[in-house]
């Protein structure tokens, strides 16, 4: 499995020029992984709240942080469309820092005011931030204290979404990991599939139908309702729907769950392999598996075929962002024939990514971490057909003539599963289509 070559690198002076470009690797050696350090143009883990607060509909997320945290949350992703968001910030001020006010008392008061205004809240997450980490505010203890006070109406949990500890999607990981201790124990002998990672509602429904057709009892984490916690135990088989769930997986394993290694369910190939991992473990008859999945795979493949014409041979460059880069790169390369110039990822979980790495081409330049200025230099030099990047970089690159796909759309669009494979490729096709269409 471990075909990939690791190249480590410490901070180096700038102006390294094309020495930055990873050298082509010999065939059969797998992708090249290089680590880079410098300015990281990425979101912090708080951003995960944007989708998590909508996924668990009766949960509320209270960031304990600075005005920067509050401003990030409201500016990052168009969340100001929500008239009644289910997140807020307890903003630390200089009274808290100077010790004039006891931060724990202040926090308790914020929570009281919040719960009085929002009696519909069933689960409250206290979310740690950079300042709360630096001043060493113990939110886990606060959560215990507040839970003791507000249970059974409201369960209070804590996790960190700080930028110094988490990158973007890792906020979902730390959030889900904080949930794990609260999951009820499963019947010791009950063998059940647990699909882990937030999915669009419509996708979750599709997977639920497929698992039902395969005869596999399946539950999903996160659940849509705070009190609808899936049980976990020795019989739990854990299938990761998202590639960024290292801590959650570890926590579930500590509760007895078994990880089913698989590629991620992106694209037809990935979805089939992912379902197959579960089917095999649950002893589903291969013919039955084929009967259930083949029509969907065929249908999705047909939809992709048309997109392939448009995307095949196009060169794609990934800035690091969501940890979805590798599975998506694998899909674009293998199912759409796209050429991978560089695949950045903020963090590479070698175990969870093993199946993906195995499917990626030899010599592929994977870069873990980031030095954004140097990566921009490489990107401009490579002039890819499409660049996947964050919101801060997209318009400047467009203005330089490079088509971009903003990575946050990959989190906000139903892309998993068969029937969304064409939608996923559509996200990459659309910027190219637009450039063709526009006559201005």
């Amino acid at each position: 499995m471990n075909r990939h070559v690791l190249v480590d690198e410490t901070r180096r002076p700038a102006a390294a020029g094309c020495a930055d470009l990873p050298a082509a690797a010999a065939p059969g050696t797998g992708p090249t992984v290089r680590t880079e350090r410098g300015q990281r143009e990425v979101f912090c883990g708080l951003t995960g709240i944007i989708w998590m607060h909508r996924k668990i509909q009766d949960a509320f997320f209270l960031v304990v942080g600075s005005r920067t945290c509050a401003h990030l949350m409201q500016s990052a992703a168009g969340v100001m469309i929500f008239a009644e968001p289910r997140f807020a910030t307890a903003i630390i001020d200089d009274r808290d820092l100077a010790g004039i006010a006891d931060a724990n008392d202040e926090l308790d008061a914020c929570v009281e005011r919040l719960l009085a205004r929002r009696p519909d809240i069933k689960m409250l997450f206290l979310v740690g931030s950079c300042p709360s980490e630096v001043i060493k505010l113990d939110l886990s203890r606060a959560a215990q204290r507040l839970s003791a006070r507000f249970l059974p109406d409201v369960r209070v949990l804590a996790y960190s979404g700080s930028g110094i500890e988490t990158t973007f999607t890792q906020g979902e990981d730390t959030c889900l990991a904080s949930l794990v201790p609260t999951l009820p124990p499963a019947e010791p002998r009950a063998k059940e599939l647990l699909v882990v990672g937030a999915l669009a509602d419509v996708v979750e429904d599709q997977f639920a139908r497929i698992f039902a057709a395969l005869g596999i009892p399946a539950r999903f984490l996160p659940m849509r309702k705070a009190n609808d916690l899936p049980p976990v135990g020795e019989g739990t088989r854990m299938l990761l729907a998202q590639p960024f769930l290292a801590e959650t997986a570890r926590a579930l394993e500590s509760r007895g769950a078994t990880h089913l290694p698989a590629p991620f369910p992106l694209g037809v190939e990935g979805t089939t392999a992912w379902l197959k991992a579960a089917a095999d473990d649950f002893g589903v008859d291969p013919a039955a598996f084929e009967r259930v999945t083949a029509p969907m795979a065929t249908r999705a493949g047909a939809a992709l075929a048309r997109q392939r014409e448009r995307l095949s041979g196009k060169r794609v460059f990934f800035f690091p962002d969501s940890q979805l880069e590798l599975p998506i790169a694998r899909f674009l390369h293998r199912e759409l024939g796209m050429e991978l110039v560089e695949v950045g990822t903020p963090f590479l979980h070698r175990q969870h990514m093993a199946a993906e790495l195995a499917l990626l081409p030899d010599g592929l330049a994977i870069v873990e971490g980031q030095n954004v200025d140097r990566q921009l230099d490489r990107c401009r030099a490579a002039a890819p057909d499409i660049t996947v990047c964050g919101l801060g970089l997209a318009n400047p690159l467009e203005a330089e003539g490079l088509a971009t796909k903003w990575s946050i759309e990959l989190l906000f669009t139903p892309i998993h599963g068969y029937d969304q494979a064409a939608d996923l490729s559509g996200l990459f096709a659309r910027p190219l289509v637009r450039r063709e269409k526009l006559k201005v």
Partner: protein, 535 residues
Amino acid sequence: MKLTVWTYEAPPHVGAMRVATAMEGVHYVLHAPQGDTYADLLFTMIERRDQRPPVTYTTFQARDLGADTAEIFKEAAREAYERFDPDLMLVGASCTAELIQDDPGGLARALNLPVPIVPLELPSYQRKENWGAAETFLQLVRALARPRAEPREEGAQPSCNILGPTALGFRHRDDLEEIRRLMARIGVRVNAVAPLTARAHDIARLGEADFNVVMYPEIAGPVARHLERACGQPFTKTVPIGVNATRAFVEEVGALAGLDVADVLAEGAGRLPWWSRSVDSNYLTGKRVFVFGDATHAIAAARVASEELGFEVVGLGTYSRELAREVRAAAEGLGLEALITDDHLEVEDAINALAPEMVLGTQMERHIAKRLGIACAVISAPVHVQDFPARYSPQMGFEGANVLFDTFVHPLVMGLEEHLLSMFREDFEFHDGAVPSHLASEHAAPRREAPPAPSAEPRLEPAAPEHGDVAVLERPVAEAGADLRWTPEAEKELLKIPFFVRGKARRNTERFARERGVAPITVETIYDAKAHFSR
């Protein structure tokens, strides 16, 4: 006889009023029954003019019909002349007076007034407003304009007339300003503008310009063709609405004026290009829009929508029968068949059938779109009083293109908002009735939408039973796929699709099912159709 709920155009004598009111020193004596004076309010209320239109109506009543209506006309004409002291008088009849055949032209001439009298024959039962305006303008020009006496001076600054703006015209005030700025920038002198602000003597000296700029072919087309024949003046064929059309217009003017316009073009094209290329506009790509209006604005909007915003134009039509050929050609260029009709109900049927994501139309289409819960922007007369804004709002020129960008995008749900709505369809804040977050008006209507046929009973569908603060009713529409049955599971799955693409999804699914004889429609049919139509 034709059943008409709303009419796109007024009768032709209102077109004549638009010309008379636009000009100065002109008075129009209209043989018309009591009640026809309502037309004054079009100008004083809808356009907010601060003067009465220069129109005298005879306002005869039933008792006058037995007596001498011709005498009433003559008296009205004589009094109008004495009171208003015009440079020129227009005389004519409205629809009812046309039936009593009093011959206003002959009667007025018999008064021997010392100013030109231009009689207007505007057949009310055949023609409409824009034709009436064009015909009035043409008769004025025929009566007054002559070729220039002396040849153009060597080295003189090139000059043009700007033809077409009238009273009550959709954005004519600001379009004219934009054209004036463009002409100044290119270096062309404006010899005269007509009808707006013109006096009779300005019409008389139209022949002195080198060429004509036709702003609105509906109104100025016949005059421009007449002047080409009578005075040898070429005229512009491009209407400068949109970035590309404006650039083409600048080039056309440059060619007609013999001037180099490279520097004008190099100065840029306003903000539309970057706003449209900015990544937050990516979601506009391929949005299905239906376009309807007068010919000029419909053709322009379709071009801008398609080339400059990246929409997909799925329908294009006009009520301007006089320019049907041009609209047909534009539609053909987009792979469409143009809808040429002045029947509002036909337009409604077309929109219903096409299920577009946005309508670019007139005030009438705004109604249709509102009823169907489709986004809509107004691009053409007839319009509301609110479409005569205080602020500078041209459609033409580069600033006009900026205005169009904002106008077309404003009613839509924004890109990231679309995504969130798709992802979290079940969120109670994202019920079908949710308004785009950037729009907050005094109140807002729940969106109604045709559900999959044929559940005959209206269903009260609580969008979020567990929170229960909204209920949306979907009522059946007989037309939509009455032959197709949906399973309850399929109906439910359809509702997981956000409303702004659901119409398309339903349409595609039913088309797919019909073509393949699939019945009933199941969840799998939805995804089969989705895969089939995926591009």
